[in-house]
């Protein structure tokens, strides 16, 4: 067997194993969500179910009967979690994109005093973990009436995302050839209008990538949300998942169904924008 051929086979086998290792945990989660609890709890274990159904999802979403009397189902204010998570993620992403892109434009196109210092402090802000912020934010928000509101969480998540957005977008804006911008300036545009008309339309893919990152950061964020949000008025999906996995230890099926619902946006987004995502990831990591 030639070496090239052997290498080809061995890399195929390696990637196959890797793929299996990454897929099996997720498949286990999905399969649990589709099987009756009786089957989940029996021994010897049932590997291939004859009773796949979507009852747990229907119960969670508030439709249909509840044949097994899930500890879950209507007890879980899933609608509220979904609404809060969506509102928080969408608005904080929008805010982070606008604010972060403006900052990125300043970094990529202007030379000013303290530029490196400001950039570094942005990165330092990113080094502070959410859990460290959550303690004082809880008090600050309580005093300002922002505790347990989506507005408070929107501001917090936007602030978490601004540094990374600025970092990514500075990379994307920096890639635009300067000649394009110069041409616009010669045509009599001010720098600002040149940015709006020439540069901004060209960084669409960058905006998409940063937007996805920001959305998922907010959608997945737990440390701050778990402290700042107290009731269904602002509790997001991850906090809800945490609450219910603590309370109903026996209903694995319901909890798995809830997790599967939570990972749907991640999966959809990765599939839609994988190309930009990949570019953003490598750009962000390599160009810093």
């Amino acid at each position: 067997m030639s070496m090239k051929h052997r290498r080809y086979i061995s890399s195929k086998i390696t990637t196959g194993i890797v793929l299996a290792l990454f897929l099996i945990p997720v498949l286990w989660l999905i399969s649990t969500s589709l099987r009756p609890n009786i089957e989940i709890n029996t021994r010897p274990p049932v590997w291939i179910s004859r009773n796949f159904n979507f009852d747990s999802y229907l119960a969670l979403l508030g439709f249909g009967v509840n044949p097994e009397r899930f500890a879950f189902g209507e007890n879980v204010p899933l609608g509220a979690y979904l609404r809060n998570s969506l509102v928080t993620a969408v608005f904080s992403t929008g805010l982070a994109l606008v604010i972060g892109t403006l900052a990125a434009y300043a970094f990529s196109s202007f030379k000013f005093k303290g530029r490196n210092g400001i950039f570094l402090s942005l990165m330092l802000a990113r080094a502070i973990p959410g859990i460290a912020l959550s303690l004082p934010l809880f008090f600050l928000f309580t005093r300002m009436g922002l505790a347990d509101t989506s507005l408070g969480l929107i501001l917090a998540h936007a602030a978490l995302n601004v540094p990374f957005t600025a970092w990514l977008m500075a990379g994307f804006i920096g890639e635009i050839p300067e000649s394009l911008n110069d041409a616009a300036l010669i045509d009599g545009c001010s720098k600002w209008t040149a940015f709006l008309r020439v540069e901004l339309p060209l960084v669409g893919p960058g905006l998409a990538a940063s937007g996805i990152f920001a959305f998922l950061t907010s959608w997945n964020e737990f440390a701050i949300a778990s402290v700042v949000s107290r009731t269904t008025a602002s509790k997001t999906f991850p906090v809800g998942l945490f609450d219910f996995t603590g309370e109903f230890v026996s209903d694995w099926r319901g909890m798995c169904a809830m997790s599967v619902l939570m990972l749907i946006p991640a999966v959809i987004f990765v599939i839609i924008v994988q190309r930009q995502l990949l570019r953003g990831l490598t750009l962000g990591a390599v160009k810093g």
Partner: protein
Amino acid sequence: MGSKEKQKKEKQKHSSVMLEERRLPVFLLLPAAALIIFVIAFPMIYSLYLSFTNFTLVSQSAPKFVGFRNYMLLFQDSVFLPALGRTVLYIMITVNIELVLGLFIANAMSHVVRGQGILRTILMMPMMFAPILVGFQFKWIFNDQVGLVNNILFEIFQKPVIIPWLIQKPLGFITILVAEVWMSTPFMVIIFLAGILSISPDIIDAAEVDGTTEWQKFIHVIVPSVAPFIYIALAVRSLDVARAYDLVSIMTGGGPAHRTELIWTYVYRLAFTSQNFAIGSAMSYITVLIAIAFTFYFFRQLIKMRKGSGV
């Protein structure tokens, strides 16, 4: 239009451009600065202040200044230093395992021509999952009664095997490590794959002509060529792992009996469960300062390296 007038107009335009050049960046940065000061800087200053007081969640009276007492207490605390040590160990083990796995997987994937895109897409998924969800997923996989792992052991030994993965002493820590590695190795793979694919084919061809083995090629050609990528990935991941909280929080909550306690689960426990907010703040401050020092060091090295290699 006279030429003089034209010149004047030119000049005016020029000075307005200069003005824009100076003022615009300030306006551009203002919103970002305002938001970060409000949500990050101000709370951090507030928690610095609290760390010097005797404030607790239940205290009714105003916080009293106690100097460095909380910081002193920390070093007498029997959980703090072990938790700090465990966090460092956790960072070192996960990041190194991820590095080795990441290099091997990326190298293998770089040879796969058909379906590389799909592979990459699937690998990107765990990176996008919430840590809280990954934690739950592995909590269920390692469930002592009917989890996936113990079910497989049942099939192998043909009798119930009840290993309390999340509770027994070294096992709890190991299961958390497994979850972290599962979640984050893809990041390394994606970065290294980009690195490997950017190596000039000439270099690889030259190595192949010399009759090197696969292993030699991997160690002497591939790994050195992606060194800048390795450095960046290690730094980014170390900082990320240093913040570990969600995953541990849902899997074991740092328990039982502090066996899996990392620094941030302990901060939470002190501040909210024991309601000792002041000591929690002191502890989180020390940890944040360490992380900031590391970030600072990392960016300086990165700038140095960039100047050196032109990456």
